[in-house]
C-alpha cells in the first residue's frame, strides 16, 4: 500500500539535462538557429516537467485517499489472484484472521478456512464456512466475492468480503 513511486531520480536527471542545455546555450559556438532550438527544447522540458509533476501529485493524492479507504474500510477485505493467493489484506481482515500481514499476504486463502470445510469452500458463489483465525477457535463466517483487476499486472483478481455470522 505504499506509493513507492517517488520520481526523485527523474528530477535529478531532468535537472542534469537542463543544466547541460543551459551550458550549451551559453557556449559561443552555437549559431542562431541552434540556440533557438535549444531554447525551445529547454522551454519544452520545463513545461513537460511541470505538467507531469502536477498530474503525478494529483494521482498520488487520489491513490492514497482510496488506498486508505481500502486499508481502513469497516469491513474485512482480501484481494486474491485467480489461484486464491492473497495479494492484499486490509486492517479489518488482519484483525479478523488474528494474523500479521506477512502471515496473510502471499499465503493461500484456503489456509484460513477450517480444514474440513476447504473442499466445499471453492464450490459456491456466496460462501458460508468456518474461518480459522490463527491461535483462535474457528468461527462461522460469510464470504462474498467480486472480480477486481489486480494493479500493475492488470490480470483479473478477486475481492473477498468476510463477515462473521452472528448467532
Amino acid at each position: 500500500m505504499n506509493s513507492g513511486n517517488s520520481p526523485e531520480w527523474l528530477l535529478t536527471t531532468v535537472s542534469a539535462v537542463r543544466d547541460l542545455m543551459i551550458k550549451r546555450l551559453e557556449a559561443e559556438s552555437l549559431d542562431g538557429d541552434a540556440k533557438r532550438e535549444m531554447e525551445m527544447a529547454l522551454e519544452e522540458l520545463d513545461v513537460m516537467w511541470e505538467e507531469l509533476q502536477g498530474q503525478a501529485a494529483l494521482l498520488v493524492r487520489e491513490k492514497e485517499r482510496y488506498a486508505e479507504f481500502f486499508e481502513y474500510a469497516p469491513d474485512a477485505y482480501l484481494i486474491t489472484d485467480a489461484g486464491g493467493s492473497i495479494r492484499e489484506a486490509n486492517q479489518a481482515a488482519l484483525e479478523f484472521l488474528n494474523a500479521p500481514r506477512d502471515a496473510v499476504v502471499g499465503h493461500s486463502l484456503s489456509q484460513y478456512v477450517a480444514p474440513e470445510d476447504r473442499v466445499n469452500f471453492l464450490a459456491r458463489a456466496v460462501w458460508r464456512t468456518r474461518l480459522q483465525p490463527r491461535e483462535r477457535e474457528a468461527l462461522a463466517a460469510e464470504f462474498s466475492v467480486r472480480a477486481i483487476p489486480l494493479k500493475k499486472s492488470g490480470v483479473a483478481g478477486l475481492c473477498w468480503l468476510m463477515r462473521p455470522i452472528k448467532d
Partner: protein, 139 residues
C-alpha cells in the same frame, strides 16, 4: 542537438510510464470503492464528507457532487445528531466501544431512512485523519 532530443524523449517516456502506473493503481482502488455493493462514505476527522460511493448515494438520496464538502451530521435526522457527534468523538478518540454499529436516521428532503452506521478511523502516522463509514439501510 540530436543527443539532447533523445535524452528529452527518454525522460518524457520515463515520466509517462510512472504517471501511467500511478493512474493504474489509483484506478484499482477507485473501482474497489465505487463498485462495492456495500454503501461506503469517507469523511475527514471533523465529519466533512470527502467521498461517497454509488451505493451510499442511493441511500443518502442526494447527488454525489452535493455530498462532497458537506458535514455528514447535516444528513442525520435532527433528533439523532447529538448521538452522531458523540459517536464521532469516540471514534476520533479510538474509544474501545466506538467501533460498534448503531442505528440512526438519514434524512433527505424526500424521505427518512433508518440505517445501521459503522465507522472505522483512518490512521495516518498515528493520528486519526478521517473515518470510513458503512451504511446499511434497514428498510
Amino acid at each position: 542537438m540530436a543527443r539532447d532530443t533523445e535524452d528529452l524523449e527518454a525522460i518524457r517516456l520515463d515520466l509517462r510510464a510512472q504517471v501511467d502506473q500511478l493512474a493504474d493503481e489509483r484506478q484499482q482502488y477507485l473501482e474497489f470503492f465505487e463498485r462495492s455493493p456495500e454503501a461506503y462514505l469517507v469523511t475527514e476527522a471533523d465529519g466533512t464528507i470527502c467521498a461517497a460511493n454509488g451505493a451510499a448515494v442511493d441511500i443518502l438520496q442526494r447527488r454525489k457532487h452535493h455530498l462532497r464538502g458537506k458535514p455528514f451530521a447535516a444528513l442525520i435526522a435532527l433528533e439523532r445528531r447529538r448521538e452522531f457527534r458523540r459517536r464521532l468523538r469516540a471514534l476520533l478518540a479510538r474509544a474501545v466501544d466506538a467501533q460498534g454499529s448503531w442505528r440512526t436516521i438519514i434524512e433527505s428532503p424526500e424521505l427518512r431512512t433508518e440505517v445501521t452506521l459503522t465507522g472505522r478511523p483512518i490512521d495516518r502516522a498515528g493520528t486519526v485523519s478521517g473515518i470510513c463509514w458503512r451504511l446499511e439501510a434497514l428498510t
